[in-house]
Amino acid sequence: MKHIDSYRIINIIFAGVIGLVFIYSCLFLPENGSHIIPSFYTDITGNASPSLGLSRAFSALVRGNLDLANQFNPYAINIFAFFCFQFIFRLISLKVNSMSFVNRKTWIRIDIVLTISLFLIAFYPLIRFTIETIGDIMEH
């Protein structure tokens, strides 16, 4: 039976996806606003959402322009920090089998708890907005 290391595959793929997000942010200048991913929510409803300007803010952040990023989206710094942490954590996790100070199962448990906690902290405004939208739909 051929053994599949699923944790390693998951880490490689997520590191790749996050890497692509960084490359996408590098490709477009923040001031241009020519990012290929539109804000469907704003386009359709005409209202602003907490994720509006996230791509432009990421483009500003990869260039080290924190003030401009903050102007585009005030939550972008937290979300970007989450992505940076995840990228580094995924790369470190690839070496989990050769780590002597922690066993694999404990590392995976730490990974799950840490990732969920940081996700909730970084995405809190977006999660709150989503829950409020669900509440509005329920009301109507």
Binding site: S6, I37, G46, T130, T133
Partner: protein, 154 residues
């Protein structure tokens, strides 16, 4: 005799889990939340097929069950944005007009409350200009905004 564990459905479970996590992440971003339905549905299909295979050939079911739960959650949240957009699309002209008026009113109210200081400054400036004869461009510099005003006296 204990059955030998196999890898049946494991690969599909991993694929479903990855797509499920991606769809869950995307579903919480309102701007692209609706797109999460795509990977979410694919993840559900993959993990169900994986679970069926794991049941049939004695594979590990845990990863498939986790993938189904996560991708179902991601797809459900993504559906919220579909409801929002469908709700907007189904509004009649009068309702839409009313909604737009509400939004404009809200924006005007917000702008007025944010810019009272600026408004005061502009009023004061206007009063000063009334007592002077000026016909040129004036540049006002503030901490965060640069405003250029061109005033033509009649």
């Amino acid at each position: 005799m204990e059955k030998i564990k196999t890898n049946a459905g494991h690969g599909l479970g991993v694929a479903g889990l990855i797509l499920g996590i991606l769809s869950l992440f995307m579903a919480f971003i309102p701007c692209v939340g609706i797109i999460a339905i795509g990977p979410g549905l694919i993840a559900i299909v993959l993990s169900i097929v994986g679970l069926v295979q794991a049941n049939k050939y004695n594979g590990a079911k845990g990863i498939n069950i986790a993938a189904i739960i996560i991708s179902a959650l991601g797809t459900l949240i993504a559906c919220v944005w579909v409801f929002v957009f469908v709700g907007i699309a189904s509004l009649d002209e009068d309702q839409l007009e009313g909604m737009v008026e509400d939004v404009i009113e809200e924006v005007v109210r917000g702008t007025n409350s944010c810019n009272t200081e600026l408004q005061d400054e502009l009023d004061e400036l206007e009063m000063q200009l009334d007592s002077m004869k000026i016909d040129e461009t004036i540049i006002i510099k503030t901490d965060s905004t640069k405003i250029k005003i061109h005033i033509e006296k009649e």
